[in-house]
Subunit: 217 residues, 2 copies
Amino acid sequence: MDTDKENKISITVIRRLPKYYRHLGELLRRGINRTSSQELSRLTGFTASQIRQDLNNFGGFGQQGYGYNVEELHSQLGKILGLDKIYNTVITGAGNLGQAIANYRGFAEAGFKLLSLFDKNPKVIGLKIGDIEIRDVDELEDFVRGNNVEIGIITTPREHAQDVADAYIKGGVKGIWNFAPADLKVDDNIIIENVHLNESLFTLSYFLTNKGDYVKS
Amino acid sequence: MDTDKENKISITVIRRLPKYYRHLGELLRRGINRTSSQELSRLTGFTASQIRQDLNNFGGFGQQGYGYNVEELHSQLGKILGLDKIYNTVITGAGNLGQAIANYRGFAEAGFKLLSLFDKNPKVIGLKIGDIEIRDVDELEDFVRGNNVEIGIITTPREHAQDVADAYIKGGVKGIWNFAPADLKVDDNIIIENVHLNESLFTLSYFLTNKGDYVKS
DNA sequence: TAGATTGTTAATCGATTAACAATC
DNA sequence: TAGATTGTTAATCGATTAACAATC
């Protein structure tokens, strides 16, 4: 928890880390235990120079003349990303999207433990997704408080997103993973990570419409 | 389709456009017909200066001393984003995520017409999601070719993503909206837009783990 | 008209790339 | 050792912010 400005890492760098992590994981699976900034460049599309700069924000993980040990670097990045811990999570909005996330094995494997789903539709309350029960959204705040939920996931329609966020925060979550097309208003100490699918699709639409009319950077 | 470097727009700018568009839509719904770079700044979190710069890449939509007409600007941005057209789309991977996208009304309203879902699981082939049939993935390439599908959506597991992309491209899609945690290898003229949920969640995890240890920019 | 707000240029800031000495 | 590749500094490039004349 450094407070000097000098030591802070820019968000641009941080958003590249998961991609390094994923490719290192793939190398690991393929039994490759040595890599280089050049190889990672080929895999990720970032320049070798940029990769060396990025990694050196966190320490000298490499060795001159050799490169990087895949297992070591993968594990270090995992720690930096906080993937060596278990996070308690809940999902509010038990529709298809909520269920999709609930069923995705990758998240559980990375340490994100789903404790419950919440919905306001009486028809689905009490049902189970796998072995996870769907509860009444009225119980949300109490459940969050009582179970040390650190990450609240929002997969409700836009209209309800802010209310759900408020309940999460009162219950004590530290971060919110938000899929609703809304900009949540929260205190500075709450981390919000948005997945705005419409913005992503509209960007694709732009590129289809204006082929060539843009620059890489 | 300008080819001069001078007139090209940077991706950073383009990725902000859908957010402007969304907030203008909300103002419109609220019956507000006049806005300013200052108000848009408050809504979007970008600086007023940045917003004026961004919009002026595409033309002078504002009026000194007045600001911007909401309806006009919304409509202009819609055109710039290509939302005034209809795109034929299909989804491959009829699991929860594919169904979530299939059921999302917002996309249909924005002109993205879903023609079919595809899957390789015989148990779901022939079923319907709403009034959209799930077809055998073996028919994918032919269907894409025969129905002028321009956008192919991938919601399969990682292992199949590249094969699906290849079939899409052979069939003639121009763009791919990819939800699989894989970096697809495609020709330069194919537009790829990735939604990497794991990268998003891992970024959230980083911020939770390293609170304060980063800078805004 | 007076006040407001744009469009646009110039200044600043930050991120990427290039280069190379250090060293395994 | 010779070759390879890092870590790191300096140079370049691009994006953001500041400022203000133009003008509605």
